[in-house]
């Protein structure tokens, strides 16, 4: 599953000693890693390990307490608004407007990212065709089943061809077939040169990633390709690797 791309040397995320404290609680403790252009970077960890916090800092939603990070070449302290132009984001809470139709959502988010009217129209049409939603295009998002909403949400998040797209547990509560289709969408985006930064609980999904990091108690414990990890931990599956690491965890939610 490793598809090392040609330009794998260009770093789109550089993260060094990034830390976030909430009072005494250290949600993310000096995390350090780089993400290369076009790769699918898996960000794993048990609940409460600090994944979402780290991701929110990289998206410019949360100001780090200390450390450095560059996202798409911009600083997470000073240039958050520049970062936001270059990234897409899909949160674990479903975040399209339920009381708008599919087309209206596409139009709105396209407009916000500064796409021209023509681009919105073209991209919207191809998006709807790809997801096979032609007959639903004018229906309220609230009426769609969850799986479709997730796929739609992802497609809207990459509508403006961002450099990086951040996905926070994007497949929670979705059936296996839809999950498979969702990953097809991810590969497709990756092939277009979009870097994917994804958090997940599902270990089978971890195997789909180019490289993965596993966070335990706010720290990044390991970072490597899935096959290297399995070899180092003498395991046959990512599940086992994860359990070996997670057993040492002190905090959970």
């Amino acid at each position: 599953m490793q598809n090392n791309k040609s330009d794998a040397t260009e770093k789109v995320i550089v993260c060094k000693d990034l830390t976030k404290r909430f009072g005494d609680f250290i949600a993310a403790n000096e995390i350090t890693f780089d993400v290369y252009k076009g790769e699918i970077f898996g960000f794993l960890g048990a609940n409460g390990a600090g994944k979402t916090t780290a991701m929110r800092m990289l998206c410019g939603l949360s100001v780090p307490s200390s450390g450095h990070a560059l996202v798409a070449g911009y600083d997470v302290y000073k240039q958050t608004e520049d970062i936001k132009k270059k990234i897409g984001y899909m949160s674990q809470k479903f975040s399209l407007y339920e009381d708008l139709t599919i087309l209206e959502n596409i139009e709105f988010f396209g407009g916000i990212y500064g796409l021209t009217r023509k681009e919105i129209k073209e991209k919207g049409r191809s998006l709807i065709e790809k997801l096979d939603l032609q007959s639903e295009a004018k229906k309220l998002v609230a009426s769609l089943p969850l799986g479709w909403k997730q796929k739609l949400s992802f497609s809207v998040a990459v509508l403006h061809d961002p450099k990086i797209v951040f996905l926070d547990e994007p497949t929670g509560g979705v059936d296996p077939i839809t999950r498979r289709q969702f990953w097809d969408l991810i590969y497709e985006a990756s092939a277009r040169g979009i870097t994917i930064f994804v958090t997940t609980h599902y270990m089978d999904e971890a195997e789909y990633c180019d490289r993965i990091s596993i966070m335990v108690d706010g720290k990044i414990e390991v970072l490597d390709t899935p096959s290297n990890l399995k070899r180092n931990f003498k395991s046959t599956s990512m599940d086992e690797v994860f359990y070996q690491l997670a057993r040492s965890a002190k905090r959970s939610d």
């Binding site: 998206c59 410019g60 939603l61 949360s62 100001v63 958050t80 608004e81 520049d82 936001k84 132009k85 990234i87 984001y89 949160s91 809470k93 479903f94 975040s95 399209l96 407007y97 339920e98 009381d99 708008l100 209206e104 139009e107 709105f108 988010f109 407009g111 916000i112 990212y113 500064g114 309220l140 951040f166």
Partner: protein
């Protein structure tokens, strides 16, 4: 600028899709504007009177009939004793007891003076005060009549009298509706505008869509303008409906310039909506937002001079009202609609409201964090 247009289109679509909100925006204020002024009335009339007539003479009968024909009193019961009448007050059936002593007529004529007892249920102080005053006036008139008759031609009938002529400007018929409709309209416009703004943003927080907005490159002030403009427009629509209702239902035609009214409302709404915005930056849930809004609105309304005059407040309270934007709006509404005041007359209120708009909105923008 283009972003703003996309934001506005989204907001308007959402508002017009939500039927419950539309009803709240258009039906509720209309109903309130029609019903509230009917009920809001401080006039003291129909005071329930319990009479204890221990004399039962021609004089007392005449006095009682003068009282009941005054229009202020409603004869509730004749009672055999004061205690019996007091029971009527206890059970809330009477507001006022008039007790005439035995041999009232005879004593008045023979001894030149006689007392009459009035006991008022004074739980409602204003009502008691006016009720007592009305009754005393009627008794004093009755007294004069009797004196005139008994002393025809003597010097007492020629005591110098000052005739008091009173005229009521701006509201000749002392119509309470004229007084309340502009104030209530001010209140409704404020309530709907600020509540909707606050709840709308907090709802995006609760549902999680605000997070999606926060990772987009939307500029803060565009996002906020995108929220303000739709509700500013809606509040203006409500204001217009209110003016029309005031005219159709209550026949209130603004004495002053309508353009001036709209100009003021336009600026004022920036302050009112800015307040809603500010609250939304503090609240995490709709329940919280609503309660906080409710709390402040209650204080604003009570301290806004809608129901009780600001001049009657103690000095410290009057200073507090200076920090209440609703006060200025109610004042201007009444001044322009009832008295025909001009821009020069309301200039100070204009300045105050502009200051509020600037402060509240800047505070809200500073406090609205895309990052935390």
């Amino acid at each position: 600028m283009r972003t703003l247009i996309f934001l506005l289109r989204k907001e308007f679509k959402q508002i017009f899709r939500d039927k419950a909100i539309l009803a709240i925006i258009f039906v509720m204020p209309s109903v309130q504007l029609i019903v509230m002024p009917l009920a809001a009335n401080y006039e003291v009339k129909k005071i329930n009177l319990a009479v204890v007539d221990n004399d039962k003479s021609t004089y007392t009968q005449k006095l009682i009939s003068q009282i009941t024909s005054s229009g202020y009193f409603r004869l509730q019961s004749y009672n055999a004793s004061y205690d019996q009448a007091y029971e009527a007050i206890k059970s809330d059936n009477a507001d006022l007891i008039l007790e005439i002593p035995q041999r009232f007529e005879r004593n008045l004529v023979r001894e030149n003076k006689e007392k009459i007892f009035i006991a008022v249920n004074a739980i409602n102080g204003t009502k008691a005060n006016l009720g007592g005053a009305y009754l005393s006036t009627i008794i004093s008139n009755f007294n004069n009549d009797i004196r005139m008759k008994l002393t025809v031609g003597s010097r007492f009938s020629q005591a110098p009298t000052i005739e008091i002529v009173s005229s009521n400007w701006f509201n000749v018929h002392m119509n309470y509706r004229l007084f309340f409709v502009p104030g209530i309209l001010a209140l409704l416009v404020t309530l709907v505008g600020s509540f909707l703004t606050a709840l709308n943003i907090v709802r995006e927080k609760e549902v999680g869509t605000i997070e999606q907005i926060n990772v987009t490159p939307i500029k803060k002030h565009y996002f906020i303008l995108g929220k303000l403009i739709p509700f500013w427009v809606l509040a203006n629509v409500i204001f217009t409906i209110g003016l029309l209702l005031g005219r159709l239902v209550y026949g209130i035609i603004p004495a002053g310039n309508i353009g001036l009214l709209y100009l003021f409302v336009g600026v004022y709404l920036l302050a009112a909506l800015g307040f809603g915005l500010l609250i939304s930056t503090f609240a995490e849930t709709q329940q919280q937002a609503m309660l906080i809004m409710f709390f402040f609105m209650m204080v604003f309304i009570l301290m806004g001079g809608l129901f009780t005059p600001i001049e009657s407040m103690p000095q410290w309270a009057q200073i507090i009202t200076k920090f209440n934007p609703v006060r200025y709006f109610i004042e201007v509404m009444r001044m322009v609609i009832l008295k025909g005041s001009t821009l020069r007359d309301v200039a100070s209120q204009f300045v105050a409201v502009i200051v509020f708009a600037v402060i509240l909105n800047s505070w809200a923008i500073l406090n609205y964090k895309k990052t935390n």
